[in-house]
Symmetry: C2
Subunit: 451 residues, 2 copies
C-alpha cells in the first residue's frame, strides 16, 4: 500500500514539474518585467523596491500557470494618493497594453509573451503586523517561503496543489473557500511532504491548530487555524470552509487507501441535456423549483457569498414553510439560478399555530382573545396544555412563495436582491430542465454527487 502511494506520487512529481523550456520562458518574462519596472522606478521622485512575489517567485507554480506577480514596494512615508499614482505610472510603463484593475489599490494588469502579469504597488513596511493594506503582506510571505523552501519541498507543494486542484479544493476565492497557495506551502513546510500533509489531514478532528512560528496568542473561530508565521494575529486558513476540509479529508483517505493517478486529474462530468435533467428528476420523484435571474455584474468574490447567502436563506424559509428542501444549489454564468429540490410541493389550507401554555395566564388570555371571535380559524382549542389555532396558510406551494414578494423578506445578498427586483423566472418540476443551458455540467455533478 505504502509503495503504491509512493509510486503514484513519483509519477505526479514528474507531471507537476515545469520543463526547462517553460522555466526559461518564465525567467525571460520575469527578467523583462523587473528590468522595465526598475527603469520606471528610477524616473520617480521617490525610491522603491521591485520584487517578484507569488508562486512563480517561489518555484511552486504548476505547469501551465501563467501568472507573474511583481510588486513595487514604496517607503511608508509616501502618501497613499502618490503611491497609487506612482504605481499606475510604473504599471503602464511595464505593460503599455495593460489596463487598470482595482483591489486594495488600483493596479495594472497585462500580458507579456503569453504570461499574465500584475504590477501592484504596496508599502515596504517593517513587519507584516504593521501593514497598511493586505497586499503589503505578500512580500513577507515570499521572503519567508524563499528562505525555507528547497527544490524538494517546492516539488511537494506542487504535488499538493495539483491534488487540491483536482479535487476542487484549491483556491482561497470565496466561491471555492479552499486552500490558498500560501497555506499549501506552509503545510508542506510543517509536515515535510505532500504525503505527510495528506496523512495528517486524513486524521484531523477539527478544530485543528498549527503555529509554525510558535508565536500565536489570538483565538480563531475556524475549522483549521494556521497562524501566519509573519503575523501572529492572522489565520492563514481563515477562508477554508468546514465543507471543503471534509472533502479534502475524504479524498486524502481515498488516495491513501486506493492510490491512483486519476485523483490528480480534475474530473469534469459531461453536461446533462434537458432530457437527461427531466429523466433525473423523474427518477428521484422530487419537486425541483428554481429562481433564474441575470447574474449581478460584480466580481466572483462578491457574487458567490451573496449567492450562498441567498440560497441558504431561501432554503431555510422553504423549510420553515414545510416544503422540506432535500438539497439546493447555486449556479452562475451570465445568468444565475438558485435550485431547490423539494420533498413536499404543496401544503394543506390549514396550518397549526401554537399559542402559549394555558397555565401562563396573561399570555394565554391574550392569545385566546386574539382568535376567539375569528371565524377564519379552527379553535382556539386546548391541546397538550396549550392553546392552538388552525389558521389559513398564507402560502400553499413553493412556487407561490417564490413568485410572491415574500421572497424579498428573506435575507438575500444585496446585488442578488437588486437583480431579482428587476425580474426573474420561477421554474418548477420539469421546467427546471431549461437550466441545462448553460449549467448542464453543474447539474450533472448535482445529480451524480458521488465524489
Amino acid at each position: 500500500m505504502s509503495d503504491e502511494v509512493d509510486a503514484v506520487l513519483a509519477q505526479v512529481r514528474e507531471r507537476v514539474t515545469p520543463d526547462a523550456a517553460e522555466r526559461a520562458a518564465l525567467a525571460d518574462v520575469v527578467e523583462t518585467v523587473v528590468e522595465r519596472a526598475e527603469a520606471a522606478v528610477a524616473d520617480l521622485p521617490v525610491d522603491a523596491d521591485v520584487v517578484q512575489v507569488g508562486s512563480t517567485a517561489r518555484d511552486t507554480w504548476l505547469p501551465g500557470d501563467r501568472d507573474v506577480d511583481v510588486f513595487v514596494c514604496f517607503p511608508t512615508d509616501v502618501p497613499r494618493a502618490d503611491l497609487e499614482d506612482y504605481g499606475l505610472q510604473v504599471g503602464h510603463a511595464v505593460l503599455p497594453e495593460g489596463h487598470e484593475e482595482f483591489a486594495e489599490h488600483p493596479y495594472v494588469t497585462g500580458s507579456v509573451d503569453g504570461f499574465d502579469v500584475d504590477l501592484v504597488p504596496c508599502y515596504d513596511v517593517d513587519a507584516a503586523t504593521e501593514i497598511k493594506s493586505a497586499v503589503d503582506r505578500t512580500p513577507f510571505h515570499t521572503r519567508y517561503l524563499r528562505a525555507r523552501l528547497d527544490e524538494d519541498t517546492a516539488t511537494e507543494v506542487r504535488v499538493l496543489k495539483q491534488f487540491l486542484t483536482a479535487v476542487g479544493c484549491y483556491g482561497s476565492d470565496l466561491r471555492t473557500r479552499g486552500f490558498s497557495g500560501y497555506l499549501t506551502e506552509l503545510l508542506v513546510l510543517e509536515f515535510g511532504s505532500a504525503r505527510a500533509v495528506l496523512e495528517a489531514a486524513a486524521d484531523w478532528s477539527p478544530p485543528v491548530r498549527l503555529d509554525p512560528a510558535d508565536h500565536g496568542e489570538a483565538e480563531f473561530d475556524a475549522p483549521v487555524v494556521v497562524v501566519d508565521p509573519t503575523d501572529p494575529e492572522r489565520n492563514v486558513a481563515a477562508v477554508l470552509s468546514a465543507a471543503v476540509l471534509a472533502s479534502v479529508q475524504h479524498y486524502a483517505r481515498d488516495l491513501l487507501s486506493d492510490p491512483r493517478l486519476d485523483l490528480f486529474e480534475r474530473r469534469e462530468p459531461d453536461p446533462l441535456t434537458p432530457a437527461e435533467v427531466r429523466a433525473a428528476i423523474d427518477r428521484r420523484g422530487t419537486t425541483p423549483v428554481a429562481v433564474r435571474f441575470d447574474a449581478p455584474d460584480v466580481v466572483d468574490d462578491q457574487l458567490w457569498p451573496q449567492l450562498a447567502k441567498s440560497r441558504t436563506g431561501v432554503a431555510a424559509e422553504l423549510d420553515r414553510r414545510g416544503f422540506d428542501v432535500l438539497r439546493s444549489r447555486a449556479f452562475a454564468a451570465d445568468t444565475a439560478a438558485l435550485l431547490f429540490e423539494l420533498s413536499v410541493a404543496t401544503r394543506p389550507r390549514v396550518e397549526r399555530h401554537e399559542g402559549p401554555p394555558v397555565a401562563v395566564r396573561d399570555h394565554a388570555e391574550r392569545f385566546f382573545d386574539t382568535y376567539a371571535d375569528d371565524a377564519s380559524v379552527y379553535g382556539p382549542f386546548v391541546a397538550d396544555g396549550r392553546y392552538v389555532v388552525e389558521r389559513e396558510r398564507a402560502v400553499r406551494s413553493a412556487v407561490e412563495f417564490l413568485e410572491s414578494d415574500r421572497l424579498f423578506d428573506v435575507g438575500l445578498g444585496v446585488h442578488v436582491e437588486s437583480s431579482l427586483a428587476e425580474g426573474y423566472d420561477v421554474l418548477a418540476g420539469e421546467e427546471v430542465a431549461a437550466l441545462a443551458e448553460p449549467f448542464g455540467r453543474a447539474l450533472a455533478a448535482y445529480f451524480d454527487p458521488r465524489p
Copy 2:
C-alpha cells in the same frame, strides 16, 4: 362582574340541589339496602359493618345520579377467599336480581327502585395506609368528608361537579383523566367554595401541590398534587392529566370573566353526516387517513389508555416518516378507529440519510464503505462536513405505511394490537366520511374544536 358570577352561581345552586322527593326516594332505597345487608351479615359466621359510601352518602350527589354504594367491611383476619364468598352472599341477598362484576374483588351490582346499587366487600383496616386493596380506602374517605362537609359546602361540591361535568373534565376514569368526586370535595373544603376553587385554578401554574392534612412527604410527578388526608403516600389527583387541567383553567377563566349558565350545561354538538365530513375535509385541504377495527372487548379503563398509546405511537411514526400529522383522534364504540389528519400525503422516491461527520474517521469510513458501491443510492457525498446518501424511501405514502406490517412495529396497546392483527380497514381522504357512523358527534367536535 363579581355580582354576575354570584348571580349565575346562585341559579346553579338551585339546579344542582336534589328536591325533597328525590332525596326521600334515595333515603328509602338506602334504608332498604342497608337493612337487607345487615340482615344478610347476621347470617354470616363473621361480624361485618355495613356502611354507605360515595357521593350519595356525603350529600354531594347531583340530581339524577342514581348510584348507591354500600360497602360491607370485614375484619382483617377474614381470609380473602372467604371475604369474597361472604361479599357475594350478602350482595345476592340484597340484590336478588343483581349480577356479579369484578373490580378489586368480585361484587354484586343491581337495581333497587330505579337506583343503581353496588354491594362491595372490603376490609375494615385501622388506617388508610394499611389497606389490602384500593376499595378498603373508600370508607376512610367517606368518614373524613362526612366529618367536615356541611350543607353549604356540600352544595358547593355539587356546583363544582356540575361545572366540571359540563365542560367534560369530571371523572377519574382513564378516558377522561379528569377530577374525581373525592378530589372535587377536597378542593371545596380547601378553598371554601366552588368559586374559590375556580378562582384559584384559573391562576394555577402547574405543578400545584395541596396537602389538606399537612402530612405529605412523598414527591409526586403530576401537574396537580393533592395529598390524600387519609394517606400521606397518595396523590388524589394522580389521574388528572395536564390537558384536562388546562381545559379547566380555560373554562374557569371563561366563567369568571363572562359568567353564564350555559357553562354548566353539557354541550353536545349535532352529529356530522358523511357529506358534512367530506365538506369539512375539503375545506381544510388536508389528507385524513384512518385505521378502523373491531373495538377490543375490554373495559373502558383498559381500552382508552391503549387507544391513546396506539394513536400517539402511530402519529409519531407518521411524523417521523414525513407525513406531518396535524391532529389525531381515537374513537370507540363497537368499532374503533384511529384518525390521523396529515399535512403531507406522499413523499418522493429519495430520502436523505445523514452519515457521520467526515472528521470522525472510523465511523465515516465505515459509512462510506457501506454505500460506496451501492448503485441504488445517490452518493455518498459530503454535505456540511458529513457524509450523506440519498436512498430509496421504503414507504412513500401514509396509506402504504398503514396497510403494511410496519404498523405493528409501533408500540400499540396489547388488545388494540391483537384486534388489528385480526384485520382492519384503512380509510383515506373522503373515505374517512364513513366514520360518521357511529362517530358523527365526535367528528363534529373534532372539526369544530372551539371550546
